[in-house]
Symmetry: C2
Subunit: 686 residues, 2 copies
Amino acid sequence: MDSDKAMVIFQPSGRRGEVPKGVNLIEASRLLGVDIEALCGEKKVCGKCVVRIEEGHFEKYGVTSSMDNVTAWQEEEEKFINPERRKKGFRLGCVAHVKGDLLVFVPEESRAGKQVVSKAARDIHIDHNPAVRLYYVEVDPPTFEEPTGDFERVCRALERDFGLCNLTIDLFALRRLPNALRDGNWKVSVSVWNEKEVIRVRPGKAESAYGLAIDVGTTTVAAYFCNLCTMEVIDTVSMMNPQCKYGEDVMARITFHMTTPGGLKRMSDDIIEGLNDLVGQAITNTHPPKKKVKKKKGEEGPDEFVEVPEQGKTYLRLDREDIEDVTIGFNTAMHHILLGLDPEFVGMAPFPPVIHHSLDIKARDLCVNINPSAYMFVLPIEAGFVGADNVGVLICEEPYKHEENQLIIDIGTNGELVLGNRHKLISSSCATGPALEGAQLSFGMRAAPGAIERIEIDPETKDVNYKVIGREAWRKYSEPKEMKAKGICGSGILDVLAELYRSKVITKSGVFNKKELKECPRFRINPDNRQPEFVLAWAEESSIDKDIVISQKDVRQIQLAKGALYAGCKLMVKRMGLEKLDKVKIAGAFGTHVDRTKALIMGLFPDCEIDMIASVGNAAGDGCRAALLNVKKRVEANWCSRNVEYIELTVEPTFQKDFMEAMQLPHMTDQFPHLRGIVSDEVLDQ
Amino acid sequence: MDSDKAMVIFQPSGRRGEVPKGVNLIEASRLLGVDIEALCGEKKVCGKCVVRIEEGHFEKYGVTSSMDNVTAWQEEEEKFINPERRKKGFRLGCVAHVKGDLLVFVPEESRAGKQVVSKAARDIHIDHNPAVRLYYVEVDPPTFEEPTGDFERVCRALERDFGLCNLTIDLFALRRLPNALRDGNWKVSVSVWNEKEVIRVRPGKAESAYGLAIDVGTTTVAAYFCNLCTMEVIDTVSMMNPQCKYGEDVMARITFHMTTPGGLKRMSDDIIEGLNDLVGQAITNTHPPKKKVKKKKGEEGPDEFVEVPEQGKTYLRLDREDIEDVTIGFNTAMHHILLGLDPEFVGMAPFPPVIHHSLDIKARDLCVNINPSAYMFVLPIEAGFVGADNVGVLICEEPYKHEENQLIIDIGTNGELVLGNRHKLISSSCATGPALEGAQLSFGMRAAPGAIERIEIDPETKDVNYKVIGREAWRKYSEPKEMKAKGICGSGILDVLAELYRSKVITKSGVFNKKELKECPRFRINPDNRQPEFVLAWAEESSIDKDIVISQKDVRQIQLAKGALYAGCKLMVKRMGLEKLDKVKIAGAFGTHVDRTKALIMGLFPDCEIDMIASVGNAAGDGCRAALLNVKKRVEANWCSRNVEYIELTVEPTFQKDFMEAMQLPHMTDQFPHLRGIVSDEVLDQ
């Protein structure tokens, strides 16, 4: 390596490259196409560009990152980074300059161009039957004749007015009880969990109780913030999974645990810290934003922060303590890691999880900072590679209540599949990898401004026309410098592959068509890695001053993902003895953006009437929400987890052959006879 | 105050006095009759004399104690006191010299002459039915065909072999599960709590599970360490209640909470720390003692500690984690303080507790360091001044199963009374104060070597003959210097009072009989406090180089205690409409040592056949033990707590009059006609 340069890798995006030694981290991030907030223009006064230097040797990346590889701590940083965070490696990106190889983590709050989260709450039907219910009671005060204890008096009133019997009370709620009763003049609002345990007592008449339904993905964590009394979704919050720095997929994280002493605890602590940040986000959003008011000349003391409510907006002003229930779903590995359960055996045949059944865990036992007496309902899991997230999808979509055969595909970093009807349900998982989400590609990125999401390639000239998130006009109606392209996001991936194939840039087997590309300036061999690549957007059209390309390796990644998915679906259809699917539902962010026709042509899944293909959005998250607001869904979830038969695809004898075949582009046309007429024959016959 | 002297108070004994400035704390303790271990003879090498300097202004004692009032920290102390303890005020007694007024706490381990604990386990009948039971199961390992999760496999085996269904598992136990199964080659021992929840999984076949039954008194904390499988009491451990420094009785501690911000937390933390020390004691006793082996000449490194097992003794070598269940009983104020419940209202009419019902609390929620998944069963309480300790006495003595009327007296720092039979039970409490335990008297002390426990006074010469704990021979058969007297313990108090009265040193009303004592060298007015006092042992007979006296104030304290107790008993007998008691049971350490005849003569309680008066030892602790080993006793305890009628004595119209009358010595003889013949007429008629 050039000794004037150093390797810098930014997480969680994974963007990497050499930068000249001596540049600051903001400059380095720009050189590598990573956006860090820098409102003040690197004047060291806004404190927005906080990043964390990861310490240690990272085999996977071939770097040894350390605080010694950046310039020394400066006084200016003290204002924004407290000693505790300083100890954890936090620095200001504008102050710290590169001296050597670095692995840098960019926290969510420092990232410019926030991800476009497509996890907004869908309008699904949920019966109102929450685990945590609020009761208002008027209690008789004690007398010399009747000096019974506080808790027993409250119980008596709850039995008299609501028929609740044999209640217990959480110690932390009990500690608040005597003063709540006296502050409320013996009138109190009592939160009761599952008609069993008192978890909160507030003086007077309280209006509402709140809960969070959290969906922890391998890459993204999202939560619905709900009013438990009205079922209203008052907010949706999300963030990157902070474990991304330990590896993009679940196997990498299991490996991190097995190879690093204390690795499990580190990953668990990180996601818990993340959940606490997420809760903080949800809470903060219920307060008016704060504005800094500079002190006037001659005045003493620091600047003040005052609340500036937006006009016409009402604020709930909630507190962490107001969150009294949580449901949480995740894949099995994330489940185990968050709970601190050894994930080793989930990654080893025959992949048994530590537990299937749902868990009711006190939030405090996981150090999740909400109401200390609140429980977290951990959704049950189906199998080693089909987790609680899939159970969430099931209780949301309820295929077990229908006669028709549904295939439900949840494409996250892993693909999880369920097939069946009221008589039988089977599930399996396939290692799609994160390619369909846009990760791990040379220029893959999150669905944020600058991401290519639609594309067209002229079969003759091979010229590329495309659209980016954040700009309405396509490339051909824009000036090059107006595009500000940065990369390709998940929803653009399938478009790119289909267009590369339609325009004959790549062949049926996914190889660049050298004959067709002989004269094409967009096709070249990358001098650094000797990989063939095709330019989608020229440097002048980008905001990162680089050509945005798709490489042979990228094409292979996408082919592998679609091949695994198709082969998995096909095996399941066969196992169920079906000819044809009645319905296909695609869950996850990928499903929201995907073009159904292209998905069918490219062969993501077996044949189905195109009108019977539906996107069901964040069904896993919606399932968590259903479990939050309707306790019967929790019982249903446990039933699902034990009554869906798990099929381990990799041991099926025909899987490898099916997988290899399914990597072809597009898929065997004889399986899609009804598509003739919908798409051009040219595409199908090629 | 003489400016060359400083006031030093040692806790928990309460011994106080002026000492010359400049002496070290060991010397100060000796001057005041407190024993601190100093094995090395103040050579600063044994580290046994660790004490803690309390910081703050102590109104009650009129001192302002601070680290500035001792000489500076020395390097020698570092070896024995870590930085954390140093911060808490710990010092070596031989290194720190007095510069000003001090309040010094002597931790249990630094006290020479350990208390003679009379809380050995009685042989009571308990049915074996513990809450925590141990099950050994052989589990089928997972296969590709049957890859069910670990927990579900264990459940299946437990249902198959023992019929246990619908089990849950504690998160901390779940974390150990996968490796326990694999380490034990799929054979494990499972601890199940109340046939509901798995709290521990160990590889292979485990022999036993252990539990502690803890009795938290206002002054003393004692615990039975039991084998849950065999019911054997393997050890009895005890300590002073570390809260003693906040006040001797419960009202003082409630006041401390109300007047000191954070006071509740401090007291709660202290008792929890104490419980953890107690658990440590119990555990350490199951290991062979360690002996320091000096390094040989020329060898590097520090001295080593090696285990030196006693011959013929077997060691269990248990760990904190081996304690899987705890039951705990205490009076209502101690209950509230330990659990962090506001005790304010327990101290205010009409004295309602925060809760009556028993609680199952995870030990970890109270930071009690035993098996992290274990529960602590907190016994239910009856009323504001009749606590879980009394419930313990009840489930041990079971008066509700008998036809005869029993009066059960538990004399601790407070007196708790229960009267009744299978048809009706009433309870009350009386403020005896700690006098009957030997505390708060000028020379009161614990039942440790040197404590006067028996006394005889010659009615003519007023000469005193006495016996101390730790020496068989009475004073008159010993040389003065052989006695090494130090003070008077609880069991000696009643003897002293009876003898003072019998020998006419005091009158019926408890005043020193100046006429009788005119010529007596033992009677004098103390020049410091102007109090009349009577010398029981001369300085030459003492180990503290001081005359051991009983003062007028001391006599009053004992009179108040006995008066309160008698008046309380009398009112209860009246309330039950009884003529005479069938049985009197005296619980607590006081009961173990008290002379039944003297107790009756002096009028501690209403008339009863002398053979029907029995000592039942530590019945409160035995009740906790019964609840530990038989889960049905827990149900019985909750029944008791709600079915014993509490009588608030102080609001009874005749209480004050009865109280004043009962302070007389001895009690009205017409109430004890049958005693004639047992004791001399002279005594009764006087």
